[in-house]
């Protein structure tokens, strides 16, 4: 399997330019085990019938002790481990995963990347993430197919028009490049759109030109490969069953593959954060809900930007394979089953049919659900916890993929130094202190 991943990573897209090769070699050069991916490597392997490709990451037995244990090998967990090693030289790290790598929400999202948020703390961490996506393929020597094709958030009520103009002004002050565009420009960018929908006309849009999409699996695989190359252990099919502490300080975890001691513990498990927090002895302001997505049969290229329609509640982009990738809102009730209710899909598709009449006869190929961890203010938690040495990164809710590199960057800083300006506002005690980051209310975003 990993052979195919390797080849796809080398062949796909044009991100592995000459510029990327020396930069990536510099970062991964300390480890002789990891072979560099390049056009030259493809040619070399072609000459020997592709017998020389190696596994992208090792699959080691757990050691007795690590300086840092990260629970959860999704994008956020792997990114945290990667930046712990890259930025702080902490490389005695294990990333523990109960399922398979990137098999949770990292592999289930609609891959949208944007940073057009209203509040300063959100804009800071999401823009950090977006800017890291720009060079991720070169940094990781792994093609994550970042495609800054532009993200458009439609305004379909007067309220939304005011909200998005406000966001555009806020973004200007934050240094995030977005702009308010009129319906004519919307139509120019998305010719298949119906501006005069029967329920809600398109009155304009908030446009982020450098937003876009990336290959979600490749983000997890790329980080995993880079972590493994630094000597970190990625341990899959290993479920944490308990958190051990001594005098208010974490000392290790119990797992289905035996106890593992650690100096610091990072909990990065999205939907199951509550279960891990319970093991660690604290409660979270988080509830787990199902969020669904679906893709259509592949069709010829028809839309080369991401469109989000938040009033009618649906968002859509076209994948490189031609499928229309569609997402909507969460189900209303607590749910750990990774499947949701049909009427939410119906609601999303109905809205998108109004907005894009040409998709009405498309067949849908696949539908799936993920468990998202929703906080009281719909913003994430990156924080120290009541248990010493134990840190938590959760609550990304319906919008975590776009934040992966920024989240990992900030979380690594928090875990290594005890403080990060990126994560400061997202602490666990903000609920008690009333410092909400009211994105879902103030910005009128999809989530």
């Amino acid at each position: 399997m990993s052979q195919y991943r390797d080849i796809a990573a080398v062949c796909g897209g044009g991100n592995l330019g000459l510029h990327g090769i020396p930069a990536a070699r510099h970062e991964t050069g300390s480890d002789s085990h990891m072979k560099h991916y390049s056009a030259f490597a493809v040619a070399r392997e072609a000459l020997r019938y592709h017998t020389g490709w190696e596994r992208a990451w090792r699959s080691p037995e757990p050691k007795k002790r690590y300086d840092v244990v990260i629970v959860g090998a999704g994008g956020h967990g792997l990114a945290t481990a990667y930046y712990l090693g890259k930025n702080y030289g902490i490389q005695n790290v294990a990333v523990i995963e109960k399922g398979w790598l990137g098999g949770g929400n990292t592999g289930r999202n609609t891959t949208i990347i944007r940073s057009n948020y209203l509040q300063d703390p959100s804009a800071a961490i999401y823009e950090k993430a977006r800017s890291l996506y720009e060079t991720m393929s070169q940094d990781l020597n792994y093609n994550v197919m970042f495609s800054p094709r532009g993200v458009m958030m439609l305004a379909q009520t007067q309220h939304e028009v005011r909200g998005y103009k406000r966001t555009a002004h806020a973004n200007a002050l934050q240094g995030v490049k977005t702009e308010w565009i009129d319906p004519a420009r919307v139509k120019q960018l998305v010719p298949i759109i119906n501006l005069h929908g029967p329920r809600y006309p398109v009155l304009g849009a908030l446009w982020q030109e450098r937003g876009g999409t990336a290959r979600h699996d490749a983000v997890a695989w790329g980080y995993a490969r880079a972590c493994s190359a630094m000597g970190m252990d990625i341990i899959q099919q290993c479920e944490v069953t308990g958190v051990r502490s001594d005098a208010g300080q974490v000392v290790g975890v119990d797992t289905t593959r035996g106890p593992i001691d650690c100096g610091k513990l990072g909990i990065v498990v999205a939907g199951h954060s509550g279960q891990l927090a319970e093991m660690a002895g604290f409660r979270l302001p988080v509830e787990a809900l199902a969020l669904q997505a679906l893709v259509s049969e592949p069709i010829k290229p028809c839309m080369d930007v991401v469109v989000m329609a938040n009033t009618v509640h649906g968002y859509m982009s076209q994948s490189d394979k031609g499928e229309m990738v569609i997402g909507g809102g969460t189900d209303g009730f607590n749910n750990f089953t990774q499947r949701g209710s049909f009427h939410h899909i119906e609601e999303t598709v109905r809205a998108l049919n109004e907005t894009f009449p040409m998709i009405s006869r498309l067949k849908m190929l696949r539908q799936w659900g993920g468990i998202v961890d929703m906080t009281g203010d719909r913003s994430p938690i990156l924080s120290k916890t009541p248990l010493g040495g134990c840190f938590i990164n959760c609550g990304w809710g319906t919008g975590g993929f776009k934040a992966i590199p920024g989240s990992g960057w900030g979380m690594a800083q928090l875990m290594a130094t005890g403080h990060s300006p990126l994560t400061e506002a997202f602490s666990l005690d903000r609920f008690k202190e009333g410092r909400f980051i009211d994105e879902s209310v103030a910005a009128g975003v999809a989530h």
Binding site: G274, P285, A288, F333, N335, H343, G376, K432
Partner: protein, 109 residues
């Protein structure tokens, strides 16, 4: 699709008729309570992977609030009961015990 029996009008209501109301049997804390108590009431949630007691409203039906006992790991419904109680009645507890022996949820078991 989730189907819940409304204990007031007797209808087996589809999810589309219902509005989810979150965790049930919260103890209210208001003015004069500590920061921790207010935080616990407003934000901290059990969020169990398993038996969950929750509030629902028959929004597009009779309009009444009621309670449901449900499993978040399997979507199994153990039963529904009226709103004017501070905990699940005995028959609901028995129905849960029949399916999940030894269950407990907050102070209930």
């Amino acid at each position: 699709m989730l189907i819940l029996h409304c204990p007031y009008c007797g209808v087996d209501a589809d999810e589309t008729e219902l509005a989810a109301g979150g965790e049930a049997h919260l103890k209210r804390f208001g003015p004069g309570s500590s920061d921790d108590e207010l935080h616990g009431y407003l934000f901290a949630r059990e969020n169990p992977k398993g038996v969950h007691l929750e509030r629902w409203r028959h929004a597009s039906g009779c309009g009444k609030w009621f309670h449901a006992a449900r499993c978040t790991a399997t979507l199994e419904v153990f039963g529904t009961y009226k709103a004017q109680v501070s905990g699940p009645p005995q028959e609901i507890r028995d129905a849960i015990s029949a399916r999940r022996p030894g269950w407990s949820w907050r102070e209930f078991s």
